[in-house]
């Protein structure tokens, strides 16, 4: 992604032209967020991903409303042989359920699970990482060993166990299980950021002014350390969505009549011979979601922190 290197607005501060050294007029040309926005919109893939994600979210909101209960309403008079129409662009399944609306409902479930799981991941990760990075010493050591332990456990299998033993079929349990196992990367990122920020001038200034540890962490350091969390969270949406689909596919997640991209695949499996297309619809939805989330995450990383840009 080296092509967007040409117009690089490095100078956030410009000296007044012609002025001598001692009368440099420090005019802030662009704020940090303006720079971030500009860098983000210069990245073509990131913008495409943003639009794709927006389109997916909008469809997940609008179509379930338009469709009403058609995502689970069976109709014995309709079936796979019925021609596709404007009201049923993907036709009907073996129970006469409108596949398109079911797909959109499943997409909505995926997005809800993805966003909330990532919220938990970001929450736990930030809390854990900030305490660890701020405290340092023994506490830091202990907390980081806990991260090592969670990282050593087989991730997907752990989610599977939690969901199966705490009650499968519940959206809440799935969100909880994914969130509880996936926060380690976020915690490490926040910790690294805190180790760096701890020595920063503004933190030292706050300390000198007598601010409490809590205030320094929450008001001063977390806002500065949030960029990597946002990136990790966006990328995490992709993982969470796929994990949910895999759980539901294996029969541990949501079960029919609830709609999930995973259980739609399980259902489509029985129609391998007669309706081969049915396995493509949920799969393509998943791929679109994953692509949108990962390119959005990459774009955000490049925009928020150009130093982290990797030439790959």
């Amino acid at each position: 992604m080296a092509r967007s290197d040409a117009p690089r607005p490095i100078a956030a501060v410009a000296g007044a032209p012609g002025g001598g050294f001692d009368e440099v007029d420090l005019v802030p040309v662009q704020t940090y967020w303006q720079l971030v926005r500009r860098r983000f919109f210069q990245n073509r893939m990131a913008v495409i991903a943003l639009f794709l994600m927006a389109a997916l979210i909008l469809s997940a909101i609008i179509f379930p409303i338009i469709g009403g209960d058609s995502w689970f309403r069976t109709d014995l008079l309709k079936g796979p042989k019925d021609p596709v129409s404007l009201t049923a662009p993907l036709g009907y399944d073996n129970l006469g359920i409108n596949i398109f609306f079911r797909l959109m409902k499943a997409l909505r479930t995926s997005l809800i699970i993805g966003f909330f799981a990532v919220l938990i991941i970001a929450g736990i990760g930030t809390a854990f990482g900030s305490i660890s990075g701020y405290a340092g010493g023994l506490l830091d050591n202990v907390l980081m060993r806990i991260v090592d332990i969670v990282l050593s456990l087989p991730g997907f299998f752990l989610v599977l166990m939690l969901v199966a033993f705490l009650g499968s079929g519940s959206v809440l349990v799935i969100i909880f299980a994914i969130g509880l196992t996936g926060w380690t990367t976020a915690a490490r990122l926040v910790r690294a950021e805190f180790l760096r920020l701890r020595e920063a001038d503004f933190v030292q200034a706050a300390k000198a002014l007598g601010a409490s540890d809590r205030r320094i962490i929450i008001r001063h350091m977390v806002p500065s350390a949030i960029a990597p969390v946002v990136v990790a969270a966006t990328l995490g949406i992709a993982d969470s969505v796929v994990t949910e689909a895999a759980l539901s596919y294996l029969g541990f997640g949501l079960r029919p009549p609830e709609a999930s991209l995973g259980n739609m695949l399980t259902g489509a499996q029985d129609y391998f011979y007669r309706q081969p297309l049915w396995i493509y619809y949920p799969g393509i939805m998943l791929i679109l979601l994953v692509l949108a989330a990962s390119f959005l995450g990459d774009g955000l990383r490049d925009a928020l922190d150009p130093r982290q840009r990797i030439e790959a």
């Binding site: 060993r145 806990i146 090592d148 332990i149 969670v150 990282l151 050593s152 456990l153 087989p154 997907f156 299998f157 752990l158 599977l160 166990m161 939690l162 199966a164 033993f165 705490l166 009650g167 992709a238 796929v242 689909a245 895999a246 596919y249 294996l250 029969g251 541990f252 695949l265 499996q269 391998f272 011979y273 081969p276 396995i279 493509y280 949920p282 799969g283 998943l286 791929i287 994953v290 692509l291 990962s294 990797i310 030439e311 790959a312």
Partner: protein, 320 residues
């Protein structure tokens, strides 16, 4: 080096205890008891009490943990160390050891395929950076990386086993053809392809990035300047250094060799450890679940250690 390995081994003890505590806690603190399935009208409450006593479930939890934990590591000489399976009453250790060859075969083959394909692809991409071949391959990598494993497995199954009927749908052997190598190889094709496509997509990206990094170095330019041919520059000077991060990646893949690929194995009903794990979670076969998680966790720790050691061996700049 020896002291480093020793130190790392000592450091991994608390981590092993940690993963044991967590897996034990998940299994034992979740609702439901292992004896629940015996609670039918035909079993008297006294029998249930006897069972609870027999399995030691009436002891305090820390004591139960300690008994389990200490017994667990006697597995090399004691085949009851991991307890008995709730589903068929066989020692868990035997059930698991029985599955290991299948998992090793599947994971080993796909790792081999991945390495053989991904490294040349990555090199090609790096050497011909921004060429059309690089762009096309990058596109495929991105899609391959975004594809969920189980879905890829499903479409491969649909296309090659159902539509064109060239490959078997699932399992390790056709019924009645146990031990037939050719038959097993045919059954291996689909799951290996599934795993390989996903990991080639990831690995070739790493290889490309590593190679690009190396190709920018001064010593590569020097090698070119002194008149070496492109084959020698890339093969002798660049590749050997670009392989360093790949060796680390290899170390991190080792745990998967034993713990298997739960999802792929389940999709193809491949009788490996991963599928056994998923099955035992379904059946709430707690001793098997615990053993599978413990093996997975321990393998990750060993894999990390191997990766670090390998890193030090291939990169002479690193001293411990």
């Amino acid at each position: 080096m020896a002291t480093y390995i020793l130190r790392r081994l000592i450091q991994s003890i608390p981590i092993i205890i940690g993963i044991s505590v967590i897996s034990f806690a998940i299994v034992y603190l979740t609702p439901g008891s292992p004896v629940d399935k015996f609670r039918t009208p035909r079993v008297s409450p006294a029998t249930i009490q006897n069972l609870i006593h027999l399995y030691g479930l009436d002891q305090p939890l820390p004591l139960q943990f300690w008994n389990w934990f200490t017994h667990f590591w006697s597995f090399p000489w004691d085949n009851t160390a991991w307890g008995y399976s709730f589903t068929d009453g066989l020692p868990v250790r035997d059930r698991i050891f029985q599955r290991i060859p299948s998992t090793l075969l599947l994971m080993g083959t796909s790792l081999l395929v991945t390495v053989v394909l991904a490294i040349p692809i990555g090199i090609l991409q790096a050497v011909k950076q921004y060429s059309w071949a690089d762009k096309v391959i990058t596109t495929f990598e991105t899609i391959g990386y975004a594809m969920p494993t189980f879905w890829l497995g499903l479409i491969l199954k649909q296309l090659l086993a159902v539509q064109f009927k060239v490959l078997p749908l699932y399992g390790q052997n056709t019924l009645g053809k146990q031990g037939d190598i050719a038959d097993m190889a045919l059954h291996l094709v689909l799951p290996v392809t599934t795993l390989a496509i996903i990991s080639v997509a990831g690995w070739s990206r790493y290889m490309r990035a590593a190679m690009l990094e190396v190709l920018r170095q001064d010593y590569v330019r020097t090698a070119r300047a002194k008149g070496l041919g492109p084959g020698r520059v890339i093969g002798r000077h660049a590749l050997r250094n670009a392989m360093i991060p790949i060796v680390t990646l290899l170390g991190l893949t080792v745990p998967g060799l034993l713990s298997g690929a739960a999802i792929t194995e389940t999709v193809f009903s491949w009788p490996g450890l991963g599928w056994l794990g998923v099955q035992s979670v379904t059946e709430r076969d707690y001793p098997v679940v615990l053993a599978v998680v413990m093996i997975g966790g321990t393998m990750v720790i060993i894999g990390n250690l191997l990766a670090d050691i390998a890193y030090a061996i291939v990169d002479p700049r690193i001293h411990y």
